[in-house]
Symmetry: C2
Subunit: 326 residues, 2 copies
């Protein structure tokens, strides 16, 4: 099976759809897309590489999901609505069963969010999956990293740390009992992009980012872009919905470290003026998704972890120290 | 030097520019771009992989040029004007000299065509360079592969076969005398995307494609999309401007084979109604770029190489046979 047959079978045919806003899809030199009046294009690119971002034996259907999910998560963080994506797929060989499963996982998430595959490239080489995703957001309504104001509340959606715990278990560096492994593996391998939340936060959040690198790292990006600092209330975080039932089975020091440093959560971190607190809680209820206040934006640079010494000893705190300044 | 320092130094700083149509560039979850009124977005993605698309010891400055050039070539084939691109760069290690040169080559072409770097991803892994390029074209003026009509003239810009000859020389499968190697290597390693030609062909060409896979292969794509066939006049091609001064030093059979099968030319192949012949020649003069008529679109499927037997023996013709049907 050659490149063009492959594209036809697993991508062009499966992903075929007719949409007025997409006059030209897979199969020409370019794809064409229109934007809704008053909207701007939001673009993000993310690559996943075998050995760096996933294990060689990962379920290809889950991999197909995750590759698109991490890109959609960037649209969510921008408050953009998904429209389409391109796929650049570098494959060491053409394994039909692998491609069938990968394409199925990709397609299911694509369909769920109306995010159409409109083009890309397939080539031979070490496994590398690049996606560029296109969304749209009304002019002036985009969520940026740079908008945090001193005094704003800091919020995080969902739960934190589960994905990193799963990774440690798969690497043999941690263990987990019973059904918990399945739960946390799902958080790692089948992340949920918080697209509805991103749309709901237009006009509410002052800044937003998706949590791919870990809470402290990504909070650092927001603070750097906004030229602000933050105080986190660790005791409140530890008794909040941020700690999943699974993670709560761990010693508190371990759970906290996973929550602060773990990556791959694909939750949204956002800031909002305290006057928006009720609006934020209304969104949480409507979406049935916990939105936990974890602290506050400050004028002083750096991240202060208030009360962290109740959970972490000096050595563990020192290991976190690299995140206290940027 | 970490990922973020690398992005800052070789990409964010060097490519920084302020443009009203690009409200948000590198450094947030998404980049933002507006479209001109009445225009649609044209998108194309192309990947280049070490060992598949380029040699490990290729000049990184030329590689930076070529990675963007092959993407711009797709915009040209669509009649789109370049606007911006994202870069997904997978690197085995951070070699500053390599990155400096790669970024310089990429930046020079980017600047030449006003095609801004607005985002991307850098990650660790086997060398893989993915670019997604964004252009815009007025609604209804896009050039497609599917518009060829029986009776249309077939045209090719520039010269054909030089790049493939250079590749064969670099692989030790052919030899070349003196300064010619430099000429044909430039055609292989520093291709010129025919963007001005693409814009000029709006309203003139009935179909277009860029020549990346080779004339017969890419003509096949146009004919398949248009559900047509073609007759090429080989004797006229052989005495035309399509044969570079360098290629004309080769035996005619070898030159013709390179012209028909060679890839990486990044010229435009297009079709136009005979009533547009004067307009096409006016474009050629204005752009100082040969536009050579090579044959005609027909209703009968397949590509007929008229007069090829004057140049190729039966065996060589048979080797081309796979292109006679699609």
């Amino acid at each position: 099976m050659g490149e063009f047959d492959l594209i036809d079978r697993f991508f062009k045919t499966r992903f075929a759809l007719k949409r007025d806003d997409l006059p030209l899809g897979i199969g020409d030199d370019c794809a064409l897309m229109t934007l809704s009046p008053g909207h701007q294009l939001a673009v993000s690119s993310d690559v996943m590489v075998e050995g760096t971002h996933f294990f060689s034996d990962v379920d290809p259907q889950k991999l197909g999901h995750k590759c698109l999910a991490v890109n959609l998560s960037d649209l969510a963080a921008c408050g953009a609505k998904p429209r389409a994506f391109t796929l650049s797929l570098t494959l060491p060989s053409l394994q039909e069963a692998w491609l069938e499963a990968f394409s199925a996982g990709l397609h299911a998430l694509s369909k769920l969010h109306g995010c159409a595959l409109i083009g890309g490239d397939t080539t031979r080489g070490p496994l590398n999956i690049g996606i560029t995703v296109f969304g749209e957001v009304p002019k002036g309504q985009e969520l940026l990293r740079s908008g945090a104001q001193a005094g704003d509340d800091l919020y995080v959606s969902g739960t934190l740390g589960d994905a990193r715990w799963a990774l440690l278990c798969l690497e043999g560096k941690s263990t987990v009992q019973g059904a918990r492994l399945q739960n946390i593996r799902t958080r790692l391998e089948v992340p949920t992009p918080r697209l509805e939340l991103g749309l709901a936060l237009r006009g509410i959040a002052s800044a937003a980012i998706d949590l791919s690198d870990g809470l402290l790292g990504d909070l650092g990006h927001v603070l750097k872009a906004s030229q602000k600092g933050a105080q986190l209330s660790v005791p409140e975080m530890m008794k909040s919905a941020l700690v999943s039932k699974d993670l709560s089975s761990l010693p508190k020091a371990q759970a906290l470290t996973l929550m602060l440093e773990g990556g791959d959560d694909y939750e949204l971190l956002f800031t909002a003026c305290p006057s928006k607190a009720l609006a934020v809680q209304a969104i949480a209820q409507r979406l049935n998704l916990p939105l936990t206040a974890i602290g506050r934006v400050t004028d002083n640079a750096g991240i202060k972890l208030m009360g962290a010494d109740h959970f972490l000893d000096d050595k563990a705190l020192k290991n976190l120290a690299s995140f206290e300044h940027f």
